[in-house]
């Protein structure tokens, strides 16, 4: 096992608000290796985007408290200075966002925005940077890049825009790419194209990718490893196969169960997870999933409402749940069969 390129240890991100402390991320740990993709899954409010912003150090220091450790290729990021972070952002680690139209400046051409990143980190001339921008556009598959380089974001279609953003994120050959729901706003065919593009680029450059999504179908496509987040914590971790085939957490099970299936009867109603995401201001006692968990009462001693289940990782696999492996084997299998039928 090679040293992970990115190593997050016990990350805590707490926001101080008027109503109190919001624990957006409360003790998260994971690794990402070069050339591999980590898929982070979770609902809104689970803390996925907060985690990414924390890695890039983009939170407002006035009301955010970061704890833990983030090591990027050996460099600790939480204690790094703003200057150091600026050197790394867009250079060694890059991020692409969900809404490309809102995330690109409407006042500058695509070419200018790409070139800007390049010039910031390499100090080349305008001409060279422009040439590089054209090259990047070509690489991400935008036709007539030498013409389109002078267009504005609003003149691109949705898919092209996302490609352009990817081009901008990769212009300095970053070693880590964080993709925050980049395909959520795109239709399925375009989505597929983008995912292929990312896979190709990863193969070509060996970039480590963190891919955040709430869509398990996407995870199935692109991820190597999966991390399931709930209530600011990791509730399950493992390889894609492990997590999707044999989930070990009721939440993951629920996610899998709530997906509509292309096979199977069409008139089977969807089974969403009942309830709503937990308040991060006042999280439920014990396991933060227990109010919505179908299996909570199966746990003896009412542990689910009193004790926080520990996340035990063995060989990169684990889940935070009070259910015993035997119980899981029984209960989950029913659901799995119910789904495939």
């Amino acid at each position: 096992m090679s040293t992970p390129f990115l190593s997050v240890r016990d990350l805590k991100v707490h926001f101080s608000t008027e109503d109190g402390i919001v624990k957006a991320v409360d003790g998260l740990s994971f690794d990402v290796e070069k050339g591999k993709t980590l898929g982070i899954v979770g609902e809104s409010g689970s803390g996925k985007s907060v985690t990414n912003m924390a890695i890039l150090g983009l939170h407002d220091p006035r009301n955010t408290k970061l704890d833990g450790e983030i090591l990027l290729d050996g460099k600790e990021l939480i204690t790094a200075s703003e200057r150091e972070l600026e050197q790394l952002r867009g250079n060694k680690m890059s991020m692409i966002f969900q809404d490309a139209l809102a995330s690109l400046s409407p006042y500058h051409t695509i070419g200018a925005q790409i070139a800007e990143t390049y010039r910031k980190h390499t100090g080349t001339s305008k001409k060279e940077a422009r040439a590089r921008a054209i090259e990047m556009l070509r690489r991400v598959g935008i036709p007539q890049p030498d013409m389109r380089v002078d267009d504005y974001p609003h003149q691109f279609s949705g898919g092209m825009r996302q490609r352009a953003m990817i081009a901008m994120a990769l212009v300095c050959d970053p070693e880590l790419l964080i993709a925050d729901e980049p395909t959520t706003a795109l239709d399925v065919t375009v989505q597929a194209q983008i995912m292929d593009l990312l896979k190709d680029l990863q193969q070509e450059f060996g970039t480590a990718i963190i891919f955040i999504t709430h869509d398990l179908g996407v995870i199935a496509d692109i991820a190597d490893d999966v991390l399931v987040m709930y209530g600011g914590r990791c509730v399950e971790k493992g390889t894609k196969k492990e997590v999707l085939r044999t989930p070990e957490h009721p939440y993951t099970l629920g996610l899998l169960g709530s997906m509509p299936s292309l096979e199977g009867p069409v008139d089977v109603p969807l089974s969403p997870i009942p309830g709503s995401p937990p308040s991060l201001l006042n999280p439920p006692s014990g396991c933060c999933f227990h109010p919505r968990c179908t299996f909570a009462e199966k746990v003896s001693g009412g542990l689910c409402s009193t004790a926080q289940p520990a996340l035990e990782i063995t060989d990169g696999r684990g889940a935070a749940c009070h259910l015993t492996p035997e119980q899981k084997g029984d209960l989950f299998a029913d659901y799995a069969t119910a789904r495939t039928n």
Binding site: G90, S103, S105, T117, Y152, H154
Partner: protein, 326 residues
Amino acid sequence: MFRFLIRRTLGAAVILLIISAIVFVLFYAAPRDPARIACGKVCTPETLALVKKNLGINHPLPVQYWDWLKGLFVGRDYAAFGNCKAPCLGYSFQNREPVLSTIMDRFPLTISLAIGSSVVFLVFGIGTGMLAAVKQGKTLDKIASSASLIASSMQIYVIGVFATYLLVDQMHWLDRANYTPFTDNPAKWAQGLLVPWLVLSLIFTANYTRMTRSQMVETLSEDYVRTARAKGLSRRTVFFRFAWRGAMGPIVTIFGLDLGTLLGGAIITESTFSLQGLGMLSVKAVSTNDLPMLLGVVMVAAAAIVVFNIIVDSVYALIDPRVRLA
């Protein structure tokens, strides 16, 4: 852009035409008879008839309006004044001076006032707003916002008189407000208008402070600003290259309209400092029922606003590439 300008210019011409017609109608709808006022102390029916003839208002309203329009485009002949070349705005009822030359005479002062105070309130307003946006929530922000609000709540005729008393009469730092044409002596021009500039800019500053501050704060929370930071751009670069662009649009729009209004004359400021600009001219025209002068000033002021409307829209298109000129 060209088609846009053509279309807007034509539209502006129509607007100005309508305004002139409205002023004409309103003027005569008011209960004051301009002939009576120009007639003097003793006004027998015979004298009144003579006055009406001399002023050219013994014709029905549409005829008078048509004559005025004609004069505007091709010139006009007056019994008392001879030929008046186009664009002819007529002669003042009050002192029989040609309206156009009187307005042009007053215009440099009004322009000076407008430009000078614009510079002041743009610099102070936008500067304070930017400062407040950067130090959002901190003490400086609160001080800046309150100060500009207090300043804009002051009345010109109070502050102006006080400023003159303090700076001119007591401390002798400055001369009394006066107008020296810029071409004569730029230093004296600036010195004589300094107090009026500062006082006039007060009422605008708060607006720009608030607008700049809120626009910048809003822009700073936009997604593309987050992207810029994610690319590794420094806070300062982000502030000036991105946040600024976002705030510019509304500021340019409001400024264009403010400038258009200022060019129509700043009545209270001119009155407080005894500066003879378009504002004072318009007041006198109203109080002496001087239709030609009133029409002239209104048209100039309206034209300024309309023109600046067009300029602002054009500039907006330059600033924001998403805007398509209709």
